[in-house]
C-alpha cells in the first residue's frame, strides 16, 4: 500500500501558499466512485441524470458517474437557452465523446420565453434563476422512474451560496460538494478532462460574457484558500488578516458564507409537537430493511 508523503512542520496561513488545497486525487477519485455506486444502489436506483453544461464541474460529475454506474446508466442532458454560447455546446459534446456517454440536447428557450413573455420586467438574475430551475425540472422529469439526479455544485459555490436554490443546487446525490473549485480542477485533470475545458474561465453562462470570477469579484484560488482556512481549519478572520490576507476579501467571503447559510440547509420546520421531522425524528436516509 502506497503511503502518501506527509507534511512535516506546522501549517501557517499564507496568501501565497496554495499547498494546503492539494489533495490526493487518486484517493478522492476512488472515494467518489464508491460513493456514487453504493449510495445510488441503497435507494434502489441504477441510473443517474446529470446536466452537462460544457463546464468542468458537470463534466467531472458525468465522468465519475459513467465510471461508477456504466455509461449506459447515465442520462446526460445539455440544455441550452438561446443566449448560451456555441462554445458551451461544443464542449458538452466533447465531454460526452471523451467519457463515452450519450448526450441529449434539449433547448429550453421556448418554455423559458413563454414564461418571461408573461412575467413583465425581469432582470437577468431572475431570468438566470428561471433557466436554472427549468433545467432542474427537466432533470427530475427525466429521472422518473428509476434514476437519481446528480448535483454538480462544488464546495466553493455551496459555501458562497453561489447557486440557485432548487435550480443548480438541487440534487439527490452530490459527489463533488466537498471539493473546492481548485481541488475539483485537479481531480478533473486526473480523470482525463480535455485541456480546453480545464483552461477556460468558469462561467454559469446565464448571460453573454458572464464569468464567475468577474461576478464574484475575486478568483477561485483566492476564495478557496480563504475558505479552507476559515472553514476546514476553523481559523478566525482576524488570524487570516494578521497573516497577510486582504482584510476586505476575508470579511467579504466570511459574510457571504454567513448570509447564504439558509441555502445549504433543509427548510426550517416550526416545532410544535413532541416529535418533529428534521429535529428529533431522525432516521438515517440509508435505513435498510432485513
Amino acid at each position: 500500500m502506497a503511503i502518501a508523503p506527509q507534511r512535516i512542520g506546522v501549517l501557517h496561513p499564507d496568501p501565497k501558499d496554495l499547498s494546503p488545497l492539494r489533495i490526493d486525487e487518486a484517493l478522492v477519485h476512488r472515494m467518489l466512485v464508491a460513493f456514487l455506486r453504493e449510495e445510488a444502489a441503497k435507494s434502489g436506483h441504477k441510473r443517474v441524470v446529470v446536466a452537462v453544461s460544457g463546464g468542468i464541474d458537470s463534466a467531472a460529475v458525468a465522468a465519475l458517474a459513467a465510471e461508477a454506474m456504466g455509461p449506459k446508466n447515465v442520462t446526460a442532458l445539455y440544455m441550452p437557452y438561446k443566449t448560451s454560447s456555441a462554445e458551451s455546446a461544443a464542449h458538452a459534446r466533447l465531454v460526452a465523446k471523451t467519457f463515452g456517454f450519450a448526450l441529449e440536447e434539449i433547448d429550453i428557450t421556448p418554455q423559458v420565453d413563454a414564461y418571461l413573455a408573461r412575467a413583465g420586467k425581469v432582470d437577468r438574475v431572475r431570468a438566470g434563476n428561471k433557466m436554472a430551475r427549468e433545467r432542474k425540472s427537466i432533470e427530475y422529469d427525466r429521472s422518473w422512474p428509476d434514476g437519481l439526479v446528480l448535483g454538480t455544485s462544488n464546495k466553493t459555490e455551496l459555501l458562497l451560496g453561489y447557486g440557485t436554490r432548487y435550480g443548480d443546487m438541487a440534487s439527490d446525490l452530490n459527489p463533488v460538494g466537498d471539493l473546492y473549485k481548485t481541488q475539483l480542477r485537479e481531480l478533473a485533470v486526473l480523470l482525463g478532462m480535455p485541456d480546453v475545458i480545464v483552461q477556460k474561465p468558469p462561467t454559469a453562462d446565464l448571460w453573454v460574457g458572464q464569468t464567475d470570477e468577474a461576478e464574484l469579484g475575486f478568483t477561485y484560488a483566492q476564495a478557496d484558500l480563504v475558505l479552507y482556512h476559515l472553514i476546514d481549519r476553523r481559523l478566525r478572520p482576524d488570524a487570516l488578516v494578521a497573516a497577510g490576507f486582504d482584510a476586505a476579501l476575508v470579511k467579504g467571503i466570511r459574510e457571504r458564507v454567513r448570509r447564504s447559510h439558509y441555502k445549504r440547509v433543509m427548510p426550517l420546520i416550526a416545532k410544535v409537537s413532541l416529535r418533529t421531522v428534521g429535529h428529533d425524528f431522525l432516521y438515517p436516509r440509508d435505513w435498510e430493511s432485513d
Binding site: 508523503p5 507534511r7 464508491a34 438515517p284 435505513w287 435498510e288 432485513d290
Partner: protein
C-alpha cells in the same frame, strides 16, 4: 502462535437480522481457516449512525436476539458489537466477547464522541470501567473507537495486566486535504504503533467499511505487535477477512528487553491524581 481474524465488514444500518446472517457467514470462514478468535467492528450487528434507530435495535446482553452469535462461538471465540439496553433502560455502545457458546464479557464504550460528525452522547450512555479478561489471544481489554483516542485507556489496560488491546471501530474516513493520506488513517496508525510499542502489547484495530448517509468508513484494520511491527493491515474502503498470528512469546521477549510495564508505578499515578483532586493521600 494464535491465529486471529479481523472481520472488516460493512454492516447494514438498522437491519440486525441481515447482520447476524453476515456474522454467521464470516465466523464460519474464520473458523475454517483455523482462527481461534474473530473480531468484528464497533456496532457490527447494527450499523453505526443509528440515530433514532438505536432504541429499536437495542437488546439486553442476554437477549435471545444474540443467541445465534453465542451459538456460533462454540469452536471459535467471537467479539462483536451491539446496542445494549441496560437493566435501567439506558442504551450503551457495547462490544461482547463470546466463547464456548457463552457471552463471557461485555465492554461498554466509555468515551462517547459528541462533536463534529459524531453524536454518540445524544443517543447513548457511557460505560464506567475498563476490565481485563482472558481471551484466546491472552489477557485483553476492549477499547471501542474513541476509547482508544484517550491515552489513559490503553495505559490502564497495560497497567492492569493486558497483553492485547482489542479496538473495534466505526471510523469515518475524512481529511483529504494537504496532499496526504486520510487524516483519520494517519492518526489511527500513529496511535496503534505508539501504544503497541510503548505499552509492549498487541493492538488489534478493527475498522469497518461501507457508507452511511454519505459518510465512508475507511477500513485499514491492522494488528501492531509489541515491537512496533505492523503484523497485518487490511485494505482501505473494501471488505476483507484479514488473518494474522499473535505470538504470546513475543510479548515476553519484548518485555524482557524493554521492561517498561514491569517498572511502571501505577501507585504513583493514583496518588498524584488523588492529590490533584484534593483527596487525602498517605505519604
Amino acid at each position: 502462535m494464535v491465529k486471529i481474524a479481523i472481520a472488516q465488514c460493512a454492516p447494514a444500518l438498522g437491519a440486525m437480522k441481515r447482520n447476524i446472517a453476515m456474522h454467521q457467514e464470516w465466523i464460519g470462514r474464520a473458523r475454517k481457516e483455523g482462527a481461534r478468535l474473530v473480531v468484528f467492528p464497533e456496532l457490527s450487528l447494527t450499523g453505526y449512525y443509528l440515530k433514532d434507530l438505536a432504541g429499536e435495535v437495542a437488546c439486553a446482553a442476554d437477549d435471545e436476539a444474540l443467541r445465534p452469535i453465542a451459538d456460533a462461538s462454540r469452536d471459535i471465540d467471537v467479539c462483536a458489537g451491539f446496542v445494549e439496553r441496560g437493566p435501567d433502560a439506558r442504551l450503551y455502545i457495547a462490544q461482547g466477547y463470546w466463547s464456548r457458546g457463552k457471552l463471557v464479557h461485555v465492554h461498554r464504550k466509555v468515551y462517547l464522541p459528541t462533536y463534529g460528525i459524531f453524536d454518540d452522547g445524544r443517543y447513548f450512555g457511557p460505560g464506567d470501567r475498563f476490565d481485563v479478561f482472558p481471551t484466546a489471544v491472552g489477557p485483553a481489554g476492549i477499547a471501542i473507537c474513541e476509547d482508544l483516542w484517550h491515552t489513559s485507556v490503553p495505559y490502564l489496560y497495560g497497567a492492569t495486566g493486558a497483553t492485547v488491546v482489542l479496538s473495534p471501530a466505526s471510523s469515518p474516513g475524512r481529511g483529504v486535504a494537504e496532499g496526504g493520506d486520510l487524516g483519520t488513517a494517519e492518526s489511527c496508525r500513529l496511535m496503534d504503533r505508539f501504544y503497541a510499542q510503548y505499552l509492549t502489547l498487541y493492538i488489534v484495530f478493527v475498522n469497518r467499511v461501507g457508507h452511511e448517509d454519505g459518510i465512508a468508513f475507511w477500513g485499514g484494520s491492522e494488528i501492531v505487535a509489541p515491537n512496533g511491527d505492523v503484523v497485518a493491515r487490511a485494505k482501505e474502503f473494501e471488505e476483507e477477512l484479514l488473518f494474522a498470528e499473535i505470538d504470546p512469546d513475543l510479548v515476553a521477549r519484548e518485555r524482557d528487553r524493554n521492561p517498561l510495564i514491569r517498572d511502571e508505578r501505577p501507585d504513583l499515578v493514583v496518588a498524584q491524581l488523588m492529590r490533584a483532586r484534593g483527596m487525602a493521600v498517605k505519604d
